[in-house]
């Protein structure tokens, strides 16, 4: 069946993008009242909302760490976010995504400044497309900045896929379903420069060489997203200044 779909025609993808083009992205910081930091983000058809609470007292208490803050991350899909209604509650996929996403953010959060505290990151997928984990991480990252959580830099996430032998940036649903490989990345960016890899997963089949190319392509995409994250944060601060 998958042979019949033709995902790349004349160098263009189904939605007209070139292989190294991102989907349209929209980012808005500080959209919720209750959360200490928040961010609404669209990336293609992904629509996600991130909220950060903390540093705050750990509940339940026995989870508290006397030497540093604990970081929690919950990736959660709304039942109506996908074609076929999803039963509410975490499934195995959500648990794994929450784990690797938390680890990515944890690696740059200055946890040691807040012993006995928790920093809780909740991301709701309101509409899901391919790459929802990357969209959520990008939103979470902005929400953390919005919440004023001290970090070594910022996390920016994007996936690369291999589709009909071609590496493409930020794959959409069809490319994810029928492609030969999917490689989500998240990078640690400091002073506008990519420093290292904070999240990396992969499933599919690629050669060593393709993998190296994929990293380069992902880095290019990440830098573009990083600029949009920065803008969203700047805009929020400008608005606040005007309001004051």
């Amino acid at each position: 069946m998958q042979e019949e779909v033709k995902l790349i025609v004349d160098g263009r993808r189904l939605d007209g993008r070139l292989p190294d083009e991102l989907r349209p992205i929209k980012i808005e910081a500080g959209v919720l009242k209750n959360a200490d930091g928040s961010c609404y983000l669209e990336m293609g058809k992904n629509k996600v909302m991130a909220a950060v609470y903390g540093p705050r007292k750990v509940q339940p208490k026995h989870l508290a760490d006397p030497t540093q803050a604990i970081v929690r991350y919950r990736y959660n899909m709304a039942p109506f976010s996908v074609e076929e209604r999803k039963r509410p509650g975490p499934d195995r996929r959500s648990v794994e995504i929450s784990k690797v996403s938390r680890e990515a953010l944890e690696s740059i959060i200055m946890k040691e400044l807040f012993p006995r505290s928790s920093i809780d990151i909740f991301v709701e997928v309101l509409q899901a497309d391919a790459g929802s984990r990357t969209a959520c991480l990008n939103a979470a990252s902005v929400a953390l900045v919005d919440a004023g959580i001290p970090m070594k830099g910022i996390i920016t996430s994007v996936a690369v896929a291999k589709v009909e032998g071609v590496l493409v940036l930020d794959p959409m649903k069809e490319e994810d379903n029928y492609g030969e490989a999917d490689i989500p990345f998240a990078f640690f960016i400091r002073n506008g420069k990519i420093e290292s890899i904070a999240l990396l997963q992969m499933d599919g089949r690629v050669s060593k060489e393709e993998l190296l190319q994929a990293v380069e392509l992902a880095k290019k995409g990440a830098m573009e997203i990083y600029k949009l994250q920065r803008e969203a944060i700047m805009k929020k601060y400008k608005v606040e200044e005007v309001e004051e």
Binding site: R74, F80, E124
Partner: protein
């Protein structure tokens, strides 16, 4: 500890305001917050609505699929309403299955829709006794600044108004708009210090969680009531609240008509 003291000071302030006949956000006792309704924002859902009631935000999505009817209603579609108070929406919400507050919220919203017969369920029969349309109404709290219930009820009916039955996807004929024939509106008041405060904000509910929700249909009939919270409701306040709820529901219903 400091947090506690701050909260107490805040409570005292809210209370003294109320005693003076005022509300902390400057509204009149019988005044709703600003309402915004956006529909159709979740393309993957059959219907959806984002409702903002002041700072309170709720997203409601409707999904539909064929399923088996109940034995005692073989020719009627089925509504299943679920609400999740996800931890994103409030520092006091916790991950996990719906607690008693989420369950109560979902059930009160559900009753308003069900008892007003807002959806013509008989038009959702596919094959009598075998197959009918299931309507899943999922209420997703995004930001709780008080009165999630009215926002949810409003989101639910707005999302239903916006729903297209996905018949083509399931190969059972052409898509058609969900037959909605009434517009139930829930109005929640806070009963405190012998006053009735409509559409209470979170600061106000910190004083007392004495809620009274009255849902009315387009003909001013009462279709659902829920007294929620541990308090004693004087009869005359109940009657006042009914009048108020009917009046306020009419205002809100006008907004719905414009959706």
């Amino acid at each position: 500890m400091n947090d506690d003291i701050l909260a107490e000071v805040r409570r005292d302030y809210v209370l003294s305001k109320i005693r003076d006949g005022e509300r902390v956000d400057g509204r009149k006792f019988d005044e709703m917050r600003k309402i915004e309704i956006q529909t159709g924002i979740i393309e993957k859902a059959e219907g959806s609505a984002l409702v903002k009631l002041g700072n309170t935000q709720v997203l409601v999505g409707v999904k539909m699929q064929p399923g088996e009817p109940f034995p005692d209603a073989p020719d009627k579609g089925i509504i299943i309403t679920n609400a999740e108070l996800v931890p994103l929406a409030s520092p006091t919400f916790e991950p996990g299955p719906p607690d008693e507050n989420a369950i109560e919220l979902a059930r009160v919203v559900d009753r308003g829709i069900r008892e007003s017969e807002a959806v013509d369920l008989e038009k959702l029969c596919i094959e009598e006794g075998e197959k009918v349309w299931l309507i899943f109404i999922d209420i997703w709290a995004l930001d709780d600044d008080g009165n999630l219930l009215d926002a949810s009820a409003l989101g639910a009916i707005a999302a239903l108004l916006n729903t297209i039955v996905p018949a083509e996807r399931f190969e059972i004929g052409d898509d058609f708009p969900l037959p909605v024939r009434d517009l139930p509106v829930a109005i929640t008041s806070l009963i405190v210090e012998n006053r009735i405060l409509v559409d209470p904000i979170k600061d106000e509910t910190s004083v007392a969680k004495n809620f009274l929700t009255i849902t009315t249909d387009s003909e001013d009939n009462i279709v659902a009531i829920q007294k929620s919270g541990s308090y004693l409701l004087p009869e005359e306040k109940f009657y006042e609240a009914i009048e108020l709820s009917i009046r306020k529901a009419r205002e809100v219903r006008k907004l719905l008509a414009e959706v």
